[in-house]
Amino acid sequence: MTWDSKLIKKAEEIIKLYPQKRSALGPLLYLAQNKEGYIDDDSVVEISNLLGITEVQVRSVASFYTMYKQEPTGKYLLSVCKSISCEINNSKEVIGGIKEFTGLSSNETDPEKTFTFEEVECIGACGGAPAVQVNYETIEGVTPEKALDLCKYLKEEEPKVIVADDLQEKFGGIKSFEWAIEDNSGTSTTAPGFQIIGTAEEN
């Protein structure tokens, strides 16, 4: 048992939300990601037992979706969009700057485990291109300079909880639209912060 009873209980609550157990696979993988920073084999075993499917079926899904990480991630996962809208709004330089600051190429993690950097396809923030995500919290209208400030801030201040609104204010530019009511919740791991599955954290 690598998952403690609290986590198992959480998993069981999630499973109850679905008519079929195996439908809970996605959220449970986020629990694993939240716990370990990636989908480790022990969690796969745990999930397969919880859902009554085989380990390799779990691994199949976990390795298909890029948001489930197969290698340990750093504290901050920097995902920079390289798709078309961001590209024509200068994402190249944003990417270049971050690469230089962190010394990482796409899908790499630094030895200190501070940053994992990745170039990603459209993250649905085209209206505010170029866009960057830190642990899946989105910041829009990021200039190359602001991107560097963001990296410095993360490295030096090491904020525990990452909250989109907060970073948007500090490092963002134009926004595509006001997305929702302001909220203070974010994430403190490289799993996206979802209230319903318990990966969200209040600042």
Binding site: T54, V56, F64
Partner: protein, 777 residues
């Protein structure tokens, strides 16, 4: 019933059933559409796009995959247009981008759909100059299956098979896009009883079996259709040989029985044919060693022994791997040799080696089932020995029926492996540890509701040697009364039903050991059996054989039974003899010969007729055809007699159902309350398996199963330990199975070490915390 509708292909109007898939409808009308991923026994997925065809739509012609498109009225299809051809070329070009084209060293070459279809539909030239994917090759994904990932074209046939058909999805696609590969989870190998089917249906050489890899080229193979006799399902198979060696067995798609699939036991249990341990000459025991003698000498020895002993009892212990023709001759010799002694039911002298043989339900009031009935039934009721281990392909048929909506009701405690499929599992509250039915079936509401007035197929037989038949009677008679019942007598061993059909009176092993009288003169023939190693009665039989005046074994190997013989007559085996066998539906099917009899082996009947003739009894058969012509006479349906001629007709290729009267005499054991339930596993230590190197390791693990509270009682928390009874101590793996009732422990009867265990006696289980504490054996 689905209606017939019209559609047009390449300008010709055709008919199909509505709802049928385009690719299948075309196939049925003789129009072949190339494909990789579509397989008629698997759900369509549309993975490969090789089957693209043009259909007319309101918005003009469009390319659609014919394997996921259902026929509709007046559909107009073009399977050969320029556009289709271009699509096919394109798809093949894409598929070949990452395919290594290592056909010269690939086992599939020569029978490879990718190779063949590239020839037929491909672009003919490659424009790909970039580096291809590389993988470590091959990786073993189980003890018997290898995977060359770079050859895989991602058709998902193997993964769908393991999920939909066999229900053990231990292989899956891992990663995505260009990196996608088939693989297992670390330390969770593809251990499936059915894994070999994936090798057969893989459209490239990505999956290979250790037993066939690099052994032959398909164009060098000779092949012949036959019938498997590993269990009484009677799967249709194709035997492949080269230079007089059996190299491979494939499943044939027999709509009525196996539908293309085989268990790995049936598929890979053949290397023994060419084992150096096989007995190829007649052996006579001299003190402790065996001498070779000739056939005529051997027959002389037997006849003079019979004379010398003056009217001895001559008994036959028979196994399940003989053909109907051989059983027919066994019946004749047994009758003739005991003319004055054993011609009544009580005095039969033929004993069939299956601990679970019972009188069964063959009377006219019971309707015998066929596998097709499973698909048509609303409810399937199962109470018998472990189906998955003993009738593996029947397990697949049940799984299929359940997937298509049949309800499954399982009675404990042997079929826990199938319980996951069951709608209702009746365990310890309903079935006692002695396998008594503790309630009146009518009191089981869920049971009653699902069988009353319903089409029911029941699979029934003794689940344990100690089970009283009466408990089954209760269930069967209730079902017969309130449902439309068809039933299978689930005798699982090879050609059991052929023996029942062709031997007038059959008894069980209980009868053999209780009737054996040391005071009398006894000659025992053992024919293709090793009860000393694999039966509850083994110990008693061993003593009987030691006490007997003369023992003659007709067999393939020296084993625990035949080593007690005075004379071993080496016999032929699968592929070396021709004959018919009968499966559990009473379907009589053909076994064919493709290999010469090795060494100086003869078929069982040849020895027996030789002996009869030497004793002055004039029965002459020159070959199996003549025996067959004789034995078919007593079949009840004269219209479709299972003669060789008849069975070789294309329309009867997959057998004819026909019956003969069946007489079995068995009594329940007196002893009850066995603390240990000994069950037969698919793999074990049979002479044929341990002499088949490619699968011999599969039967070596020793394990027991018990529930967690029983484990607690024994003070076991670790997963390994020792099983101890008297002076026997066996190191074991301990599996927790919480479907089992308290105080019942399951152990395999056919794993080494367990042949000396008496399930009616007490035993101990101790846990081992480290290697040193495990018994060495």
């Amino acid at each position: 019933m689905s209606e017939e509708i019209k559609f047009t292909v390449n300008g010709t109007e055709l008919e199909a059933k509505s709802g049928e898939l385009l690719i299948e409808a075309c196939e049925n009308s003789g129009i072949h559409i190339p494909r990789f991923c579509w397989h008629k026994r698997l759900e369509p997925v549309g993975m490969c796009r090789m089957c693209l065809v043009e259909v007319e739509t309101p918005r003009g012609k469009a390319l659609v995959p014919s394997c996921t498109t259902e026929i509709t009225e007046d559909l107009v299809v073009d399977t050969e247009s320029e556009v289709v051809k271009k699509a096919q070329e394109g798809i093949l070009e894409f598929l070949l981008i990452n395919h290594p084209l290592d056909c010269p060293v690939c086992d599939k070459a020569g029978e490879c759909p990718l190779q063949d279809q590239t020839m037929a539909y491909g672009p003919g030239e490659s424009r790909f100059v970039e580096e291809k994917r590389h993988f470590e090759k091959p990786i073993p994904i189980s003890e018997i299956i290898l995977l060359d990932r770079e050859r895989c074209i991602l058709c998902a046939r193997c993964t769908r098979f393991s999920d939909e058909i066999s229900g053990d999805p231990l292989i899956e696609f891992i990663q995505r896009g260009n990196k996608t590969e088939v693989n297992t989870f670390p330390n969770e190998p593809f251990r499936s009883y059915f894994s070999g089917n994936t090798v057969q249906i893989c459209p490239v050489g990505a999956l290979t079996s250790t037993s066939y890899r690099f052994k032959a080229r398909p164009w060098d193979l000779k092949s012949i259709s036959s019938t498997c006799n590993c269990c009484s399902v009677g799967c249709s198979i194709e035997l492949n040989t080269s230079q007089n060696k059996m190299l491979r067995i494939l499943g044939e798609d027999n709509e009525f029985t196996n539908q293309g699939w085989l268990s790995d036991k049936g598929r890979y249990n053949f290397d023994y044919l060419h084992s150096e341990n096989r007995v190829l000459n007649i052996l006579e025991k001299n003190d402790d060693s065996f001498n070779e003698i000739s056939t005529s000498e051997a027959i002389k020895k037997i006849t003079s022994k019979v004379k010398e002993l003056k009217n001895p009892n001559i008994k036959f212990l028979i196994g399940s791997h003989s053909t109907n023709e051989e059983y027919f001759v066994i019946n004749q010799i047994s009758n003739h040799l005991n003319k004055d002694k054993f011609l009544s039911k009580e005095k039969s002298n033929v004993y069939f080696c299956d601990d679970l043989l019972s009188r069964g339900y063959f009377e006219e009031k019971y309707t015998q089932a066929t596998f097709e009935d499973l698909d048509k039934s609303e409810t399937i009721v199962l109470w018998s020995e472990d189906i998955k281990d003993n009738l593996p392909v029947l397990y697949l048929r049940i799984k299929k029926a359940v997937r298509n909506g049949a309800k499954l009701i399982v009675f404990g405690h042997t079929n826990t492996a199938i319980a996951g499929l069951a709608d209702f599992y009746f365990g310890k509250d309903v079935v006692s540890n002695n396998f008594d039915l503790m309630l009146n079936p009518a009191e089981l509401k869920d049971f009653k509701n699902n069988v009353e007035g319903k089409r029911v197929t029941a699979i029934v037989g003794k689940a344990a040697v100690s089970q009283k038949k009466e408990s089954l009677d209760k269930l069967v008679d209730y079902l017969n009364e309130i449902s439309e019942l068809k039933l299978f007598n689930s005798f699982s061993k090879g050609n059991t039903f052929g023996a029942l059909q062709n031997i007038h009176e059959i008894k069980g092993l209980n009868e053999f050991s209780t009737e054996f009288d040391n005071e009398e003169k006894n000659i025992v023939f053992t024919i293709g059996v090793n009860p000393v190693n694999s039966s509850y009665f083994g110990k008693a039989i061993k003593e009987n054989l030691i006490a007997a005046d003369y023992v003659i074994s007709l067999d393939l190997f020296i084993n625990d039974t035949t080593e007690l013989a005075d004379l071993i007559l080496p016999t032929t085996s699968l592929g070396e003899k021709e004959g018919t066998i009968t499966n559990m539906e009473m379907r009589v099917m053909k076994q064919n010969k493709i290999l010469p009899a090795p060494g100086s082996t003869l078929s069982e009947w040849e020895y027996l007729i030789g002996i009869l003739n030497a004793m002055g009894i004039n029965i002459e058969y020159k070959n199996e055809i003549e025996i067959n012509a004789d034995l078919v006479r007593d079949y009840s349906d004269k219209e479709s007699l299972p003669t060789f001629d008849n069975l070789n007709k294309p329309s009867n290729l997959y057998g004819v159902i026909n019956t003969k009267p069946i007489n079995i005499t068995t009594k329940d054991l007196k002893k009850q309350d066995f603390p240990l339930l000994m069950v037969r596993r698919l793999y074990g230590d049979s002479s044929t398996q341990i002499n088949s190197p490619s699968i011999s390791m599969l039967g070596s693990e020793r394990f027991i199963e018990l529930n967690s509270s029983t484990a607690e009682k024994y003070g076991i928390s670790s997963k390994v330990g020792n099983f101890i009874q008297g002076s026997n101590s066996i190191s074991i793996k301990i599996d927790i199975n919480n479907l089992l009732p308290d105080d019942l422990v399951i152990a395999p009867i056919n794993r080494r070490g367990f042949e000396n265990i008496d399930p009616s006696k007490d035993f101990e289980i101790t846990e081992a915390r480290n290697r040193e504490e495990l018994s060495v054996n």
